[in-house]
Symmetry: C2
Subunit: 383 residues, 2 copies
């Protein structure tokens, strides 16, 4: 293998794939990035894989001699990212014979020479493929919206297994993202641009770690870029342009969350999202001192929503804001963290709260635009 490429192409692509290199690999080869160079197409592909999450990217280079080799990820990323802009050659030829101690790759920037111990490409595990599957097509924008509105509500507790992922449901015309940690629930419905054939619905739960990487990789893509999504029960693959992300799926039955969402409500409140959120952030300073509980007082007569918190040892706070209120007065309390996280993820400038009683599920929806539903459970108000 021998090739010439630009420092920026190599460094950018290395830093993308290196996110899938495990910090504590089970096998030494997993601490490497697989480099494959094709002399016919003049394409170089890089792959990292922790046996659950896999990322592959490719870019153009001048490939003098094709081949494949597994390169130490951390050293290569750290050195390449610190090199100045310019051309770099990568070569594993000369040194094999001379050292007799195994593979060495030589990295030659303009003014120096780095030799790194490498491993055989044959030791590197194959990325999973899904055969005979028809992809679902999504725009980058729809995928980003779905991830942004659901990922935050997954559980961070690894023992909760299926709840650490986002549940994707492919229906006739829609792709639905659902996430819950047992305390709150977020659901986003986006458009599936390739209506399903006779195969019915598909459902799969994808680890949030893989989806966070996907969100990061898509952040720099144009909103209407097409993303192909391949699903089966064990694997999911996202593919676009020169990049591919694969992930195993999570096993286990995902909760039937739709039945948790009430259909009728006794009270409805429309309020400015940013004002609600910034007020909560101030009240949270006091709530942090106690049990994280904030009280909402909904006053129909004055058409005002009041947030308050009493942290007896430290002090108390209270702020009011205008709201459009239908239904009777009520006092209701929430964990301030669940309220803030939901409000941050809701995509509209005004939001609606739909309330029945002070201990039944409360639904938050954006006003117009994206179809998102956020459910938070109120808590007992202790005085």
């Amino acid at each position: 293998m021998k090739l010439l490429c630009s420092q920026s192409d190599l460094s950018t692509n290395l830093s993308l794939v290196s996110r899938a290199v495990p910090s504590r690999p089970n096998h030494p080869v997993l601490a490497n990035i697989l480099l494959q160079a094709d002399a016919e197409t003049n394409q170089v592909s890089l792959t990292a894989f922790d046996l659950s999450l896999g990322i592959r990217t490719s870019f153009s280079a001048e490939v003098w001699q094709g081949g494949a080799i597994a390169l130490p990820a951390k050293l290569l990323v750290d050195i390449t990212s610190r090199l100045p802009e310019g051309e770099i050659t990568l070569d594993d030829e000369a040194s094999v014979a001379s050292t007799g101690e195994g593979l060495i790759v030589t990295l030659t920037p303009k003014s120096g020479c780095y030799q790194l111990r490498a491993m055989s490409a044959e030791d590197f595990p194959e990325l999973p493929i899904i055969e005979d599957a028809e992809p679902i097509h999504l725009t980058a924008a729809a995928l980003i919206e779905g991830l942004r509105g659901s990922l935050f509500a997954t559980s961070a507790d690894e023992t909760k297994q299926v709840l650490t992922g986002v549940h994707l449901s492919v229906k006739q015309d829609t792709l639905e993202f659902g996430a819950t940690d047992g305390h709150r629930l977020a659901v986003v419905e986006t458009t599936n641009e390739s209506p399903l054939g006779g195969s019915g619905e598909l459902e799969v739960t994808v680890p949030s770690k893989a989806l966070r990487e996907l969100e990061r990789m898509l952040a720099h893509h144009a909103a209407d870029d097409a993303i192909a999504l391949y699903l089966d029960q064990g694997q999911v693959i996202f593919e676009w342009q020169n990049q591919r992300l694969t992930s195993r799926t999570l096993e286990g039955q995902y909760p039937a969350y739709r039945q948790l969402i009430p259909r009728q409500f006794e009270r409805q409140i429309t309020v400015d999202r940013k004002q609600f959120l910034s007020t909560l952030e101030r009240i949270a300073v006091l709530a942090d001192q106690k049990n994280n509980i904030v009280k909402l007082t909904i006053d129909h007569a004055s058409q005002e929503l009041t947030l308050s918190c009493e942290a007896q040892e430290m002090g108390s706070g209270r702020e009011s804001m205008p709201a459009e209120i239908s239904g009777e007065d009520i006092e209701i309390a929430f964990n301030v963290k669940y309220l803030m996280e939901g409000l941050k993820a809701l995509p509209s400038s005004e939001i609606q709260m739909h309330i029945n009683q002070n201990l039944t599920p409360v639904i938050f929806t954006p006003l117009g635009g994206l179809k998102m539903t956020y459910l938070a459970m109120p808590v007992q108000l202790r005085s």
Copy 2:
């Protein structure tokens, strides 16, 4: 006490002084910020003090009733910084009588009301003062230069006592900053703009924590702002405009570092500082894998400086750069961290290395401008 001020004045000044609030206070009152309001001058001053470092600032406000009170630092800073721009009233009147449980301060922004438990101003310790001392006058620029060129070389090891501070020596026309952790030494000489009278020289060692806060506070000041410096053996005070920083000094004899600096050298190398530093950063990736040692090869014939590292298990690297070299060829090795930190702090685009033998102290100086000396000890080169 009752006053009206702007959110931005209150928040900016609170965040400045809060740096001196201890994270684990020995006494409850130290977790507070002392607020003093003067109805005659319409000035509000804020003070925080951890019994070693003290910071005081003041700003203009509409003081309706003067007074002093100690306010809970964390709550006040966190709430005030999250409030929108606008007017705020602070008031400790009404609530004292009504609660009967001690002091409460009421913070009233435009759309809400916060009540925080406070403490009596009488419990708050007095900031130290230095009586009968003539101040030394410095510009902000000179002080920042001195701190920037010395603070990085102090020891982070609290058991090293006097080495955790910067040693300030006031001489007839100069103020010298010296710092060493036992492995390297940084010395900066700046101009003392108020020549001493008959009192001779003054020396004092100031904790680096206090000087880092000073550096941060001065970062937004004009280069020619005048800073007054009061010194005695137990305390040091920096004072400018509406701000003051006090610190206890460190006890113990500071090493006589001047005698460590050689006066004559057998070799001299002039090199571009940024190129030297960025090359070191790449070689450091390999050095990190082994013992942090980088080898410098100085070649008179080719007028080249070569940096290299062999990390046998991982690989090796080598880069060369042009240099102006006088004296014979030599190989010399350093801890890469000490070399990088010194090069970062040197203020010129080109620097000079002054070398005798491969195990004697090496001196780094900037070319032109500021008078800074950096001394690093070479290490044994193991092959």
